[in-house]
C-alpha cells in the first residue's frame, strides 16, 4: 500500500495572509506640491527658463536639460481638457450604470489626470476649460483627491 489518497478530513489548503504595507512619500517637489494643494488650495508647477517649460505637477529637475528647478509658479485652478475617457468598471471589477468621466486636464506644459463632475457626458468636449473644485479645507489630507473633481467654467 502506498500513500496516494488524500485524507477526506484534511484541509485542502493552508490559508494565510502576509502583512505587507507600504508608505510612499512624495519626494521633494511632491511634498511642496501636495502641501500647497492641501493648505492653500493652489496648484503649483516649476519652470525651466532654459527650456521654457513649466512642469505640472511640479518636479525638481527639468526632464529635458536635467537642470535643477527652483522657480515655482502658481498655474491657477483652471485648465483645458486635453483628452477624456468614460469608465464603466469600478476598481473592484463591478460595473457602473453611470460612467465616471476621467480627463487629462492641461496646465501649462503638464497637467493632471482627474475626474469631471457637474457636466453631462454629451457636453464634454476636448478643449473645454474646467476648474478644480476643492474639498473643504478640513477634509483635505494632502492627496490629489483633495480636489474633488473638475467642473466646466
Amino acid at each position: 500500500m502506498t500513500l496516494l489518497n488524500r485524507d477526506p478530513n484534511a484541509p485542502e489548503a493552508w490559508l494565510g495572509e502576509l502583512p505587507v504595507t507600504n508608505r510612499y512619500t512624495f519626494g521633494l517637489a511632491g511634498e511642496k506640491f501636495f502641501r500647497t494643494l492641501k493648505d492653500e488650495g493652489r496648484i503649483l508647477g516649476t519652470h525651466c527658463s532654459h527650456c521654457d517649460q513649466t512642469y505640472v505637477p511640479a518636479t525638481v529637475f527639468c526632464e529635458r536639460c536635467l537642470a535643477k528647478l527652483d522657480e515655482w509658479v502658481d498655474v491657477g485652478t483652471s485648465g483645458e481638457i486635453d483628452t477624456f475617457t468614460l469608465l464603466y468598471v469600478n476598481l473592484d471589477g463591478s460595473f457602473r450604470e453611470k460612467p465616471e468621466i476621467i480627463a487629462f486636464v492641461r496646465f501649462a506644459d503638464g497637467g493632471l489626470v482627474h475626474r469631471l463632475g457637474g457636466v453631462e457626458i454629451d457636453h464634454v468636449e476636448i478643449g473645454m476649460v474646467v476648474q478644480a473644485v476643492f474639498k473643504p479645507a478640513s477634509e483635505r489630507i494632502g492627496s490629489i483627491l483633495d480636489i474633488d473633481y473638475f467642473k466646466p467654467v
Binding site: M1, T2, L3, L4, N5, R6, D7, N9, A10, P11, E12, A13, W14, L15, G16, E17, L18, P19, V20, T21, N22, R23, Y24, T25, F26, L28, G30, E31, F34, R35, K38, G142, S143
Partner: protein, 178 residues
C-alpha cells in the same frame, strides 16, 4: 561614508516624522493572501492533529519513521508504505531562548522554540515547536517533554493545536537488579 562623499544627499525620515505629520505620504496595504496546498502527507498530519495525534509515515524498505509524514521516502525515493500514529512525548533535540518576537518586539520572558524528537519516530526525527511550563535555566538537551494540547473543540487542524511541550518525569529505566 566614502573618501569623496562626506555626507550622502537626501533626507532621512524617522517614525516620529510620520507621527507628527511632518511628511505627506500615501499608505497602502497589499493583498498578501495565499493558499498553500497541504498535499497528502501534511494534509493527513494536520487532520490527525485535530484528533490529538501526531502522525508519522513509515518506509518498510528503509525501516524509517519520519515526522511530519511524507509520502515519498527521502532515502530510497520510493513511495512510503503507511501512516503511523506516534506518541505525543519526546526529547529535546535542541532549543533556543528568543527575547525578540517574530515582529521584532523585545520581551522579558523568552519564547523557547525547540526541536523535539518524537517518540516512535526514527532517532533524531522531530518537529519544531515551543516549550512551556519550564524555567529557561532548567532546560537541557535530552530532556523528556510531552505535548500540551488545546481542548478538542478548539482544535483547527493546525500545528498550533499543540500549545507547547512541557517537561515530564524521566522514564524509569529498567536497571538490572544486582
Amino acid at each position: 561614508m566614502t573618501a569623496k562623499i562626506k555626507e550622502f544627499p537626501g533626507i532621512s525620515l524617522s517614525e516620529q516624522d510620520f507621527i507628527d505629520g511632518k511628511i505627506l505620504y500615501n499608505f497602502d496595504k497589499l493583498n498578501g493572501q495565499y493558499a498553500w496546498d497541504t498535499g497528502i502527507g501534511i494534509g493527513s498530519y494536520l487532520a490527525s492533529l485535530k484528533n490529538g495525534v501526531i502522525l508519522g509515515s513509515h518506509c518498510k524498505t528503509c525501516r524509517k519513521v519520519v515526522v511530519p509524514p511524507r509520502i515519498i521516502c527521502e532515502w530510497c525515493y520510493r513511495p512510503m508504505d503507511e501512516f503511523v500514529p506516534l506518541k505525543d512525548t519526546g526529547i529535546v533535540n535542541t532549543f533556543s531562548l528568543c527575547y525578540v518576537t517574530w515582529d521584532m518586539k523585545r520581551i522579558k520572558e523568552p519564547e523557547i522554540p525547540a526541536v523535539i524528537n518524537i517518540d516512535g519516530a526514527s532517532p533524531l526525527h522531530g518537529i519544531m515547536h515551543m516549550l512551556g511550563e519550564v524555567d529557561p535555566k532548567e532546560i537541557k538537551v535530552g530532556m523528556r517533554v510531552q505535548a500540551v494540547w488545546k481542548p478538542a473543540d478548539e482544535r483547527q487542524g493546525s500545528i498550533n493545536d499543540i500549545l507547547y511541550f512541557k517537561p515530564i518525569e524521566e522514564q524509569s529505566h529498567d536497571t538490572p537488579e544486582s
